[in-house]
């Protein structure tokens, strides 16, 4: 009984930390984009502008939460909730440190892939329920993009599964004690990262919400709290893909020995995730958005064969005894 209570407390604590982190990311992103564009970014609210997210949140909560009369009401309200919940669910299988982590699911990696696939329903349903042409186009693009990129996202992590022999994320991390999987799975990592960007529809693959062509894409008709939920889902998605990259390819909380004793494992994990979040922001600042057909042909013509080739070579090398986990 007491164990269940502790588990519930842990879940609540993780959620209570993740949501403010996602909110802070908005500020981090705006500051970093500012720095990279030779500006300062928001620096007025609180020290260094750190309370900007609070101001943004208060503002967005003060807005009218409008449901368009032409929309499919139930689905319209449900869509942003699905998005945020699916991304939050993925964190259930995430091993944050040797002791922290909600569940050691044996099929943790598959669970993550399943939740990433379910998250697309949020976007598609939002696009459909809005009953507006921009939202519908955004939802359609999201469906095509996610279906295409999901295929080789799954294939790219199979190399990791092959080498560690497990779908359990904690065991995958523990299998990297001798050396991180990035050493042998570099191509797999690049493919996973590209698919992850497409999956969390961030720039340069933000075609579902491409504001220059589709006003705001699938969330054109959303406002107030429901819009905030979409926003939360997006930034949690960035954190999730970063954390997943760290767990699968960069040894999770593990560090080589002289460094490992300096800081606790959880701090190392957070630092690594933060590095990838910064990388995501750098991508957003520097790269332009491809055309929609370019995005799809890039996925199917280059990334999918590359992922298959990576899997094949990994399998061959493992069989030949050249590489181990």
């Amino acid at each position: 009984m007491i164990e269940i209570l502790f588990k519930l407390l842990e879940i609540l604590l993780i959620i209570a930390l993740l949501i403010p982190i996602a909110a802070m990311l908005v500020w981090v992103e705006r500051r970093m984009i500012g720095i990279w564009q030779n500006r300062l970014g928001p620096n007025r609210v609180g020290p260094l502008g750190i309370l900007q997210s609070v101001a943004d949140l208060l503002k967005i909560l003060g807005k009218e939460d409008w449901v368009p009369p032409f929309s499919e009401r139930t689905v319209f309200v449900l869509a942003p909730v699905i998005g945020a919940v699916c991304v939050l669910m993925s964190f259930a299988v995430m091993p944050f440190s040797p002791t922290i982590g909600v569940s050691d699911l044996n099929i943790g990696l598959l669970f993550f892939l399943a939740m990433a696939s379910l998250a697309v329903y949020s976007v598609v349903l939002a696009g459909w329920a809005s009953n507006s042409k921009y939202a519908l186009l955004g939802g359609m693009r999201a469906a095509a993009q996610t279906v295409s990129y999901e295929v080789f996202m799954g294939l790219s992590v199979m190399g990791v599964v092959l080498l560690t022999g497990s779908f359990n994320l904690r065991e995958i991390v523990l299998a990297q004690q001798e050396g991180w999987l990035i050493e042998t799975q570099f191509v797999g990592f690049i493919i996973f990262l590209i698919a992850g960007i497409a999956e969390s529809h961030r720039l340069p693959f933000d075609l579902p919400e491409a504001e220059t062509e589709l006003t705001a894409g699938f969330h054109t008709e959303y406002s107030g709290l429901k819009f905030a939920l979409f926003f939360l889902g997006e930034y949690l998605g960035v954190t999730l893909i970063s954390a997943m990259s760290v767990v699968l390819f960069f040894g999770g909380w593990l560090m080589p020995e002289p460094l490992a004793s300096w800081l606790p494992p959880l701090v190392w994990f957070i630092l690594k995730v933060f590095f990838f979040v910064l990388f995501f922001i750098l991508l957003r600042t520097s790269l332009p958005r491809p055309r929609f057909d370019q995005l799809l042909s890039f996925g199917w013509k280059y990334m999918l064969p590359l992922a298959l080739l990576n899997l094949l070579v990994t399998a061959a090398l493992k069989l030949g005894g050249v590489i181990y986990a």
Partner: protein, 192 residues
Amino acid sequence: MPSSNNKSGAFALALDMFFSQLRTMGLVLKQTFVKADTVEYPEQKPYLAPRYRGRIVLTRDPDGEERCVGCNLCAAACPVDCIALQQTIDDDGRKRADFFRINFSRCILCGFCEEACPTYAIQLTPDVELAEYDRKNLVYEKQHLLIKGVGKYPDYSFYRYSGVELDINGQHKAKGQAKNEKPPVDIKGLMP
């Protein structure tokens, strides 16, 4: 864009695209160490040139008298009709503005009034902080517009430069030769 008909061409193109993206990211990352161009306005004022067209003032001549003679040329030149004034003749025979009103909520700070003014009375200054909470506070009356100084033209006094030709007692006097007068301004000269 190179042709991608043969297979090696397609591969080279893909590689080229990949490194092009990496280079772009590298160039952006380099900007981390470049100082921001931002001028943090309320604390740090940007430089405004002396001839910047900002808030409008009415200046006085070196003797401390009002330069404005209420000729209405500024009001006529004003493209948005934000200037209103009335001429009056004082007891000393000098023409002045009875009232002089500029509505800064209309004013576009074009400087046409300054160009039209024959006495250099109306001048634009490098002050742009005109914001008010109440719109009616943007209507400036003569006492708000009039300053103590001479503005951009320190020794200019209209009455000294603009004498008239006279024939008094058979004696001829050209423009600017009478007592307290200066020779007329060379209007073809470029210097202010």
